[in-house]
Symmetry: C2
Subunit: 411 residues, 2 copies
């Protein structure tokens, strides 16, 4: 796979961007912006050395897959990439690759923001018909948070139920928890060791900001998240093939791990993983922070009742509308900061309806209450469907997804 | 188990001892002394904060076990300990504990120096009738040396054959390679994670001298060697019991790992491992260096032919005798620096004969050639027996020892 050159991983370690009066902070552990418009993703792309997803790439995507682009792609939620062209070429040539995404299971309650990468990953899998590996970094959460190993592992299983409820199929999806899979696969630990030999403390200090008082578990962890980028760690899935290319859909804050991974890949004789990066789903309070699992009023949980969703959207969703109906009709609404509008861009499929909302809200014709009502109806449907699928997913079903095994593909 | 207090692990990190004109260096990666008498072990005991093994402890050992002390114990090869009294008390009370020792498999050819801890460990196991776990740190050797993972793992299997040939029984001994067992046991990785969360980079810097340009694998590794000190990592052997005490026979250069382990144990709710430390078997060239697997003329290999042994001892073994027969008869020999004499203290069981040799060699009555001849005969017997046992040990037999399983003990 032809791959683009990245800037050296260590050089992009300083990840806060200051522009005029606004400061953006984007690391695997902190995301925020002082601007109500949120993180400046264009600047971030330049800083991280990734490539913007432009219309030309979206056109090629549609041409090669023969499918219209998903709204999360064409509307810019997935806005940046590394080597996505090479993945499209592989698909064009009918050559194999796989998808890898993941989650750090730090809380029982997953929210709408957590769903975005999985919704998109499901669409990618349906589009390309390739294996998917989902890594749950329960070891990471144990190391970083005040969580016991048992609790982190339990959350991994619970979160898997919500992930499976996104519609992933057992025949082409392997889900694993680090704490379990490390102890099930000598090949995975070997891949971790190979990476750990190639990365110095200086490098992880530069990339992740680790210091001398960090525990040695944190310092070694990036190799574990990196290892899933290489098919060598999954001999049952890839029939021992160590060089099947990988595409990673993830939020942009996870990019530092994969810059490091791409840095070491050639030295190990492995392929650099390709990436497709998303923005964050903003919290109800505004686009300057991402939804947080720990602040109940910042998030719509996957377990919320219709009444809770209605209350949260009506009460907490930051509005770009006028303070009064008169003011709104006179000055119009501001879609750039309106949270309900932004959520519609994620979840409303109908392009024409979305454009109509944008136009009439901006002009002041459509009132905030109506816009929120439309969003609430869409979310009610999404959550009802999710909850219906979720309630049938037992621990036994999770165990089947988590068993290392051959998937439906032959290599 | 009542345990003694250690000095904080970090404070004893500086491990070179300077005394007058002599300098001793003792770390897991380097052992040496500028004195021909070798490392000053009394000073090392004080520096490391361990306890000397004195006659009173040896007497108690013999009284409680009802067996005469092994020559490696009563002659001071095993010279230092931590909490050995507590282990004797457990045996007295018929309470369980286990033995843990290991080897870093960096070369195919094991030498006599490598045999010492296994000979003594076998005697301890026969004396106490307890389970033994032998860890082969092939991951460590991969990280530190210019070795592939496959080669390090292959050496682990080959070295296991020599270890098994020491007479260990399948019913009470579990041998494992890190690269394999990590991928077979979620409990072991969990134990490693727990330790890694308790140890900072600052601490391993202080204890092991790691620097910013060391790879993250090295930085994380001490937790893997530490983990075997806790029964929690071996549920099949200990029936899930997480708090079976452990006694570690090892050379003194491995103590830094276990100072670190003893430091974290109480924070994890685990027992501190007890230790019994040996000196090093000196190289043929003199007591100021230890036998090295990489210098063929410094070592007697377990594969050496009778002729090779004879040549090496006669040609290379540093002599404390006089330069001529006349000078020797006049001034006598110096047992303190004579390598052949020192090897006899390891391998000649008969106390009276050893004392007779010491007396007559010191007086000049016994000539160097005769002393060497007696050693050569003993080594021929030891190596012939070893080679005879070794040749029947196949990869399949190693695999049986390396299978995680219940041993003959119930918990």
């Amino acid at each position: 796979m032809a791959t683009q050159d990245d800037p050296p991983a260590a050089e992009v370690g300083e990840m806060s961007i200051q522009e005029g009066d606004d400061t953006d902070v984007v690391t695997p552990w902190e995301v925020g912006s002082s601007s109500m418009k949120g993180v400046d993703y264009h600047k971030l792309t330049k800083k991280f050395g990734s490539s913007s997803i432009d219309q030309e790439l979206i056109d090629r995507f549609e041409r090669i897959t023969g499918k219209p682009a998903h709204q999360l792609l064409k509307r810019g939620t997935f806005f940046s990439h590394r080597d996505l062209h090479s993945i499209l070429t592989l698909h064009e040539q009918k050559k194999p690759f796989y998808l890898y995404t993941g989650r750090g299971p730090s809380s029982e309650a997953m929210h709408l923001g957590h769903l975005i990468p999985f919704i998109f990953t499901k669409w990618l899998q349906d589009t390309f018909d390739v294996p998917l590996i989902i890594q749950l970094t329960d070891d990471e959460k144990f190391l970083w948070k005040d969580l016991s190993l048992e609790e982190a592992n339990r959350l991994a299983v619970q979160n898997s139920k919500d992930i499976i409820a996104c519609g992933f199929s057992k025949e082409n999806t392997f889900i694993f928890s680090d704490l379990d899979y490390m102890g099930q696969s000598p090949a995975f630990y070997r891949t971790v060791c190979r990476i750990q030999k190639c990365v110095t403390f200086n490098q992880v200090k530069g990339i992740f900001g680790f210091g001398d008082s960090d525990c040695i578990g944190k310092i070694a962890f990036p190799a574990i998240q990196a290892a899933t980028s290489f098919s060598a760690g999954f001999p049952q899935i890839f029939n021992g093939k160590t060089n099947i290319p990988c595409l990673i859909p993830c939020a942009i804050d996870q990019d530092p791990y994969f810059r490091m991974t791409r840095d070491v890949a050639p030295r190990l004789g492995y392929q650099k993983p390709a990436l497709i990066h998303s923005t964050f789903i903003p919290s109800l309070q505004g686009a300057n922070t991402k939804m947080s699992g720990s602040d109940p009023n910042s998030s719509i949980y996957l377990t919320d009742t219709p009444k809770q969703v209605k209350t949260k959207i009506n009460k907490y969703a930051y509005s770009g509308g006028g303070a009064t109906v008169e003011e709104h009709k006179e000055k119009g609404g501001n879609c750039d900061v309106d949270i309900a509008y932004q959520y519609l861009t994620f979840f409303l499929e109908d392009d024409e309806r979305l454009e109509e909302i944008r136009r009439t809200y901006t002009s002041g014709e459509l009132l905030t209450g109506y816009l929120k009502k439309e969003l609430i109806e869409i979310l009610h449907k999404i959550l009802a469907d999710h909850q219906e699928r979720r309630k049938n997913i037992t621990d036994d079903i999770v165990r089947e997804y988590m068993t290392p095994r051959k998937l439906k593909y032959d290599y």
